[in-house]
Amino acid sequence: MSFLNLENVTKIYPNGTKAVNETSLSISEGELMVFVGPSGCGKSTLLRMIAGLEDITDGEIKLDNRVINKVDPSERDVAMVFQNYALYPHMNVFKNLSYGLKNKGESKEEIEKKVNEVAELLEIKEFLQRKPGQLSGGQRQRVAMGRAIVRNPKAFLFDEPLSNLDAKLRGQVRIEIKKLQKQMGVTSVFVTHDQVEAMTLGDRLAVINEGVIEQVGSPIEVYENPATYFVAEFIGTPQMNFVNGEIKSNQFVSKGFSCPLTSNMSDQEVIFGIRPENLKVNPNGNITIKVDLIEKLGADSIIYGYDKSNNYICYRENGNTKIQSGEEITLEIEEGIYHLFDKETKKRLN
């Protein structure tokens, strides 16, 4: 069942910039949808349109079967967690949490009860009388979450809420958010440019580029079957390898190497994509590269090198590799695991 529904939503700024272009998307109840894309792709604009902080130029946004295009942000029944938390610096944590409820005209006892419940849930009870300036980054993050939760909204909107935290804390908070969201079952939209966050958090991802949703799907779907060249390029580190070439009698041929295809394809010019982990060393393999650079990450090693026609190829191997820089190695492409994109439309072919 669609709960939060975007229909041909478009945003054009007064200066003519098209930030979001006829985007349609439906998010079901309780789902955590992640908008991921490079900076400036329109993902935040889209989120802010749902929140009511940006006008909608065209299209329709429905939340729980109610069109909210023209509804005041405070009456949309959504709560937002901001990138820099946007806590109210002059109010203590209790007032930060209760301000929205107070404006709704709820009774003092009711407010106190709700705030205490949320404070308990987030373990921020001992900070209720402190001001945001006296809290650490992680605690502020919780207060920001609490401010969203206490209003008991129909949807949570997260605008890159983890980007201000250090790496270790980010991992912890990410898990906390995921748990909380599942526990409460509130429909959520999470905006990020970090693909690890996107992959780990999302029930589904929407990969956005230049104001257009390129693909919507579960993280694994998006990873294994990127719908466009952009998605393939954006999702996955190290990046997918791309080689220009053409299909000739069901075989991919480039200047550097060739590879038989497992499905029937007509002859045409294509971009051939292969993920670094889908390669393995095999003396009888397809691609021979001269190793240029090795990154040892402990758990795996990333090996970069040039093939015969100077394509930069990246290969991932488990553990501490014995391969040396300057060596020539031959790599085999795992059977059937490759991605073909049309050279013109950049759409997936196989």
Binding site: G52, S74, N84, A86, P89, H90, Y99, G100, G133
Partner: protein, 283 residues
């Protein structure tokens, strides 16, 4: 060793500065506690005399002026009303106009701001005739409204508030919007509390500005009932020389000391906010 020399010279310079500030006030105060005759014959005094209560009582309560009806106390009350009125209304109007300029994206907001800013180039002294004309046409001469109203628009304060509001992050406004704050609530619940140190600073400046006004009350008031302390200073000076009596020099000093008290009190009380704002970074 080096740091001790540095510390010593820094303190030395500071102590000299303090002396330059304090000594004249001390001499004025010490002289104000002596007999008029003593001060005239022996010059200004360093030590405290025995006429403190007599002199101050005389200054505060002796009726003077043409009508022999007003006292220094009434002038103090007038000055306080004028300075307090100017400072309060100035702060309110400036905060609100800056709010309008920064947060409401109406057309010509920026030109309007610069128009307000340009009025800095036209101080009261330059526009005193038209200002007087307006106030007189409105029948506001000899009234507190007339004393306060023409001085309440402030480009300086508007400018400072504008700069402060522009530094408030947009997310704060957005979060407040989601929490159901309308524009009035955002102003009262957010901008005012956030800018309270700013308000205190502006209030101090504007209070002192209003308190030390001379030309405007002089032109505005013909009724002695509305005379202010600064005007009184001239009057007490005249009176003390004219009429062939012995100049009441010591009382003059008493008056000067008294006239300094209200602005000093304002600074002393609001200073706490000032310092709070300096050491507590709330952002």
């Amino acid at each position: 060793m080096n740091s001790r020399v540095l510390q010593f010279s820094a303190h030395f310079i500071l102590i000299i500065g303090v002396l330059i500030m304090v000594v004249p006030i001390w001499i004025a105060f010490a002289s104000s506690t002596h007999d008029n005759v003593t001060v005239i014959t022996e010059g200004m005094k360093w030590g405290i005399g025995d006429k403190f209560f007599e002199n101050y009582n005389e200054v505060l309560n002796r009726k003077g002026g043409f009508s022999q009806e007003i006292t220094a106390t009434s002038m103090f009350i007038n000055s306080f009303i004028m300075a307090f009125g100017i400072a309060t209304v100035k702060v309110i109007i400036s905060a609100m106009s800056a709010y309008a300029i920064v947060y409401f994206r109406f057309r010509l907001a920026t030109p309007i701001f610069w128009l307000i800013f340009i009025t800095l180039l036209v101080p009261l002294e330059v526009r005193i005739l038209p200002s007087y004309q307006i106030v007189s046409d409105l029948n506001l001469t000899n009234s507190y409204t007339g004393l306060v109203l023409p001085l309440v628009a402030s480009a300086t304060a508007t400018f400072f508030f504008r700069q402060f509001y522009m530094s408030v992050p947009d997310e704060l406004l957005e979060a407040a919007k989601l929490d159901g704050a309308n524009s009035w609530k955002f102003f009262v619940d957010f901008l005012l509390p956030l800018s309270k140190t700013m308000i205190a600073a502006m209030f101090i400046f504007m209070f002192v500005y209003g308190y030390s006004q001379y030309l405007w009350p002089l032109i505005m008031t013909t009724d002695e009932k509305y005379w202010t302390v600064v005007m009184g200073m001239k009057i007490i000076f005249q009176e003390s020389y004219e009429g062939g009596n012995l100049p009441r020099v010591a009382e003059r000093f008493s008056y000067i000391i008294l006239s300094m008290i209200p602005p000093v009190l304002v600074v002393v009380f609001l200073q706490r906010w000032f310092i709070k704002g300096l050491i507590q970074t709330e952002k």
